[in-house]
């Protein structure tokens, strides 16, 4: 007789995801009843919902690692941290979106629905305790974002960006899945803890040496490399970021990093410590290459959005540096240091405020038929709009890692992790590159304040939408707060380690 066992599922652990699923449905249904001029209301509903869900997710903080859905799903401090940040990022992105969508004539309910779908994927990735869960989350996220990137249907750039991102992304997903398949082939399980046990068990050492398994690991690294746009897998990013609607660009640059890095850390730290030296070396090279490439290529850009796109490649390099330097070998045993993981978490948080702010500046000047995308367009803005100019300077200094901003503390913490585990060369490369990055960030400051406006230049006016204003204030305050009083945020970042390793 077939025995049916109903597993004990703690649904409450998945409350944010369940709530989000309900919110998406509500948004889709609401969309039917709202006239085309009032679609912003859909956005407002989405915003309120996301804020509530962020609080719900925050409520799960602490209490160690709890698994559910038959070990497919885990809630620990890392996943909670990522979820809260992703939801916060989403909320701010919606605020940035409300006015922009009207200006660019993309104010449809689907916009918000797709955004929430992608967030759903991210939350699942953050909690994925099984390669399959992670993969499902990743695909949900990616597919929604392909659509979002191509959302400005009337704009050929956006369509091209969407298609490019879709083709490269699908390719990357394939690579990642192949890597997962090979892992399953050797370990006989897709559970992240199960893989670690397989490596630790008898014969595990042999598996770790098997060339095909190593090939699988390389595929995993490459797959994540594509998703995070690490050089040399970054080719899609400048086009995709430039073509996408600006709030979506900002959202992608932050939220996708959060979710992907969380999944990457969980898989590599928990499942693959047995092969740590191998993936660590691979990632070391990718990180160094990414930091150099992103920052050097950004120098040559004339489009502000494209420059920020390249700079976000550089920042992906910094984040990954935190992942790389977390690993150290003490007495022949692989260990992962707290400071590295918390540095990654804090850096991402700092990056959330800073980078959304930088893209927010582009949204601020956006009006019908004018995007202010050329750096030269910003000449003299520091004088014409002093507060906006100062906000921009704060974001740029933070991106460059100059005190007293979030970016400085973030970088300091990252480099501290690198130095602690004796990754001196990587730290040196990163530090020198952050000085290089100040060249192109400094150039924007120069254009803002030190170059005079041409006679014929179109006047740049700022949007007066209150939602946008509120979002920008939050971002500036956040950037400065994290820079001047980072204490409690650092503690939170440190808390992510609990129950994870």
């Amino acid at each position: 007789m077939l025995e049916v066992v109903i597993p004990d599922i703690a649904l409450s652990l998945a409350l944010p995801e369940i709530g989000l699923a309900i919110l998406v449905c509500a948004v889709l249904i609401l969309d039917l009843f709202v006239s085309i001029e009032n679609k912003s209301r859909v956005g407002v509903v989405a915003f309120v919902g996301v804020v509530i869900l962020a609080l719900v997710a925050f409520g799960q903080w602490g209490g160690g690692a709890r698994t559910t859905f038959n070990d497919f799903y885990v809630v620990d401090n890392l996943s909670v941290f990522v979820k809260v940040c992703v939801l916060a990022c989403t909320a701010i992105s919606i605020l940035l979106m409300l006015q922009y969508a009207k200006v660019e004539k993309i104010n449809y309910g689907e916009l918000y629905a797709m955004l929430l779908f992608s967030v759903f994927g991210m939350l699942v990735m953050a909690s994925g305790n099984d390669l399959l869960t992670v993969y499902l989350g990743l695909e949900t996220m990616s597919i929604s974002i392909y659509v979002l990137v191509a959302f400005m249907r009337h704009d050929p750039l956006s369509r091209e960006a969407g298609l490019k991102y879709f083709l490269m992304g699908a390719f990357a997903s394939g690579i990642l899945l192949y890597g997962m398949a090979l892992t399953y082939g050797f370990c006989g399980t897709t559970s992240i803890r199960g893989i670690a046990e397989a490596f630790a068990g008898s014969g595990g050492a042999a598996i770790a040496q098997n060339p095909v398994m190593i090939f699988g690991l390389i595929l995993l690294v490459a797959g994540f490399g594509f998703k995070l746009a690490l050089a040399p897998f970054h080719m899609w990013l400048p086009d995709a970021y430039t073509g996408a609607p600006t709030p979506i660009t900002g959202f992608m640059s932050v939220a996708v990093k959060f979710a992907t890095v969380a999944a990457l850390m969980r898989i590599f730290f928990v499942a693959f410590p047995a092969m740590a030296e191998r993936w660590n070396t691979l990632l070391w090279v990718l990180t160094a290459f990414t930091m150099v490439w992103g920052n050097v290529a950004a120098i040559a850009q004339t489009s502000l959005k494209r420059m920020l796109a390249y700079s976000s490649i550089g920042h992906a390099g910094y984040v990954l540096m935190g992942v790389v330097v977390s690993m150290s070998i003490i007495d022949g045993k692989v260990t992962f240091s707290d400071i590295g993981i918390s540095a990654v978490a804090f850096y991402l948080l700092a990056y959330l405020f800073t980078n959304l702010g930088a893209f927010g500046m582009l949204i601020l000047v956006c009006r019908e038929g004018y995007r202010g995308d050329n750096i030269e367009d910003w000449k003299g803005i520091g004088q014409a709009h002093p507060w906006a100019g100062m906000a921009f300077v704060v974001f740029l200094l933070s991106l460059g890692g100059i005190p007293p901003t979030a970016g400085f503390v973030g970088k300091l913490y990252l480099f501290a992790a690198a130095v602690q585990n004796e990754y001196y060369w990587l730290a040196a490369i990163g530090l020198v590159m952050s000085a290089v990055s100040m060249y192109y960030y400094g150039r924007i400051i120069m254009v803002l304040y030190m170059e005079n406006r041409g006679e014929t230049q179109e006047v740049m006016s700022l949007s007066s939408a209150p939602s946008l204003f509120f979002a920008m204030v939050v971002l500036v305050v956040g950037t400065l707060l994290l820079g001047i009083f980072p204490g409690s945020f650092l503690d939170a970042a440190k808390g992510t380690v609990a129950g994870f390793i």
């Binding site: 004088q383 005190p403 007293p404 400085f408 501290a416 602690q420 040196a428 030190m450 980072p486 204490g487």
Partner: protein, 515 residues
């Protein structure tokens, strides 16, 4: 001392002033802004005076200390205080800020609001750098100064301001990020080999210095060296300096020469020597070599300049070579002389830049060949310039002499070869300065435009006067200055020589045995 957080007050008052200007003053109210900025810096100077009067000369350690936990997670505290090494620099800064603000009244005619905001923010950054006793805090202030200075050069600078501004910013940033690497390495070295705690607290770290293995010390020293040497700037990292000086507005040059460069030399005395005693000894020949090259090279290049401001800029390279030579003599006289020379250089080079600014405002040229015979039309200006020039040369009776003399004694004690080379620098220094003076002030009044030149007005005399008084004061009676520095300098020298002490003792025994 009372419980008043005096240092915090001094440091953040200018920033507060900047915020008030930003928020409450309209950019058209230029008079009000100037008046308010002046009031802020004067008040700041006045409240910094207790540092001079209440300073305990016999105390080698830190005074006026304030300590509040700031980021406990990584062991950062808001820890400030001063000792003999920093007290005069703080006072020099508050004084220079008054000069900087007052000399800009007529020189800066556009975007005054932003200008004074930048100046005041810069003051906070510089003061913070000198009072910070937590390396993290120090680094934060050290970096913050870059931003307002970048704006000062980039917005109100000369024709090549953009180039000069970004060069200044990137050059110094490049150095300071590598220094950060060194700071972090030290932070963890202390964790592993020292107190076992994660702390940036300088007083705790001082105790750890000698325990760190030499190989690591050397690496950290190199990192510190790059950061500070670029700031000083030592040869061969000096190339940003002439550009920055020439393009910066007068106040920018004065502050740059007077204060910002001292952050580099101060960094060596405060951090590199006591934290890395053994490595400091290892690097003595190297540092001395670079200093001497700087002294002679700076002087020779200064001699070849056709632009007065550029000449003064290169003379800074030479003078700071002296300071570095004194510091790396690693004995009492040398470090004391280096310390005093920092102040002297701030006063005399600051004054020289001010004087250049005065004529530039009238004639809009800085080419030496455009001048000649000025002594006939502008007597007051000529007298002040002459005093300043002689102070810069190091004429006995003026401040430069005392500092250079001490440095030479220090260098001589280390090796007479060092001193011999340094003396060449003094001779060259006299040569380029006197030659400059001759070309600008003597000879015939060939250029008709110079005939209309007006002499210094009351405001200009007023802001130059304190500097001239200081030149005489330090030159004739340096005791109050040296006295305030002595105890702390002795302590630093003792700390840096702690590693050598056993060796010397052993040597002493041997010589006794021989006898």
């Amino acid at each position: 001392m009372s419980n008043m957080p005096l240092l915090t007050l001094i440091t953040f008052l200018p920033a507060l002033g900047a915020v008030i200007i930003m928020l409450f003053m309209k950019k058209e109210q230029t008079k009000a802004i100037k008046g308010f900025a002046t009031a802020v810096v004067v008040l700041d100077f006045l409240i910094s005076l207790p540092l001079w009067f209440s300073f305990d000369q016999s105390e080698a350690g830190f005074q006026f200390v304030e300590k509040v936990s700031w980021i406990p997670t990584i062991g950062v505290s808001y820890f400030v205080g001063i000792d003999g090494i920093s007290v005069l620099l703080v006072l020099l800064t508050t004084l220079t800020m008054i000069v900087g603000v007052v000399c800009s009244f007529t020189a800066i005619e556009e975007r005054e609001k932003e200008y004074y905001v930048c100046l005041l923010l810069l003051a906070t950054g510089m003061l913070g750098t000198f009072i910070a006793l937590d390396i993290f805090l120090f680094y934060v202030f050290f970096e913050i100064t870059l931003v307002p200075m970048y704006f000062l050069i980039g917005v109100w600078g000369g024709p090549r301001k953009l180039y000069a501004a970004i060069k200044f910013f990137l050059y110094t940033l490049f150095g300071s990020v590598l220094m950060l690497l060194g700071i972090l390495a030290y932070y963890f070295a202390n964790f592993k080999m020292g107190t076992g705690t994660l702390t940036f607290d300088l007083v705790e770290l001082y105790a750890v210095g000698p325990k760190i293995p030499l190989s690591l010390q050397i690496w950290i020293f190199l990192a510190f060296f790059i950061g500070f040497a670029i700031k000083v700037p030592m040869f061969p990292f000096h190339t940003w300096l002439p550009d920055a000086h020439v393009e910066a507005p007068t106040a920018g040059s004065v502050i740059l020469a007077g204060i910002l460069l001292k952050m580099g030399t101060y960094g060596f005395v405060r951090f590199a020597l006591p934290l890395l005693p053994q490595a400091s000894h290892v690097f003595v020949p190297f540092m001395v070599l670079l200093s001497i090259i700087g002294i002679i090279y700076g002087a020779l290049v200064a001699m070849a300049q056709t632009d007065i401001k550029k000449l003064v800029a290169y003379s800074s390279v030479s003078h700071l070579g002296f300071v570095m030579l004194g510091i790396f003599a690693l004995n009492e006289q040398g470090v004391l002389g280096g310390q005093l020379q920092m102040i002297n250089h701030g006063i005399s080079t600051g004054a020289l830049f001010l004087l250049v600014g005065v004529v530039y405002e009238r004639r809009h040229t800085r080419l030496i060949s455009d001048y000649g015979g000025l002594s006939k039309v502008v007597p007051v200006f000529t007298v002040i310039f002459a005093i300043t020039m002689l102070s810069s040369i190091g004429l006995p009776g003026l401040n430069g002499f005392v500092g250079e003399f001490l440095i030479l004694i220090g260098a001589f004690k280390k090796s007479y070869v060092y001193a011999a080379f340094a003396v060449i620098g003094i001779v060259l220094g006299a040569a380029y300065m006197l030659w400059l003076f001759q070309r600008v002030f003597f000879g015939n009044l060939d250029n008709p435009e110079n005939e209309k030149l007006t002499d210094c007005n009351a405001r200009e005399v007023l802001y130059l006067l304190p500097l001239v008084i200081l030149m005489f004061w330090i030159g004739l009676y340096p005791k109050p200055f040296l006295g305030r520095m002595e105890a702390s300098v002795k302590k630093v020298v003792k700390m840096v020589n702690v590693a050598e002490a056993p060796q010397k003792a052993a040597l002493g025994k041997m010589t006794k045995l021989e006898k």
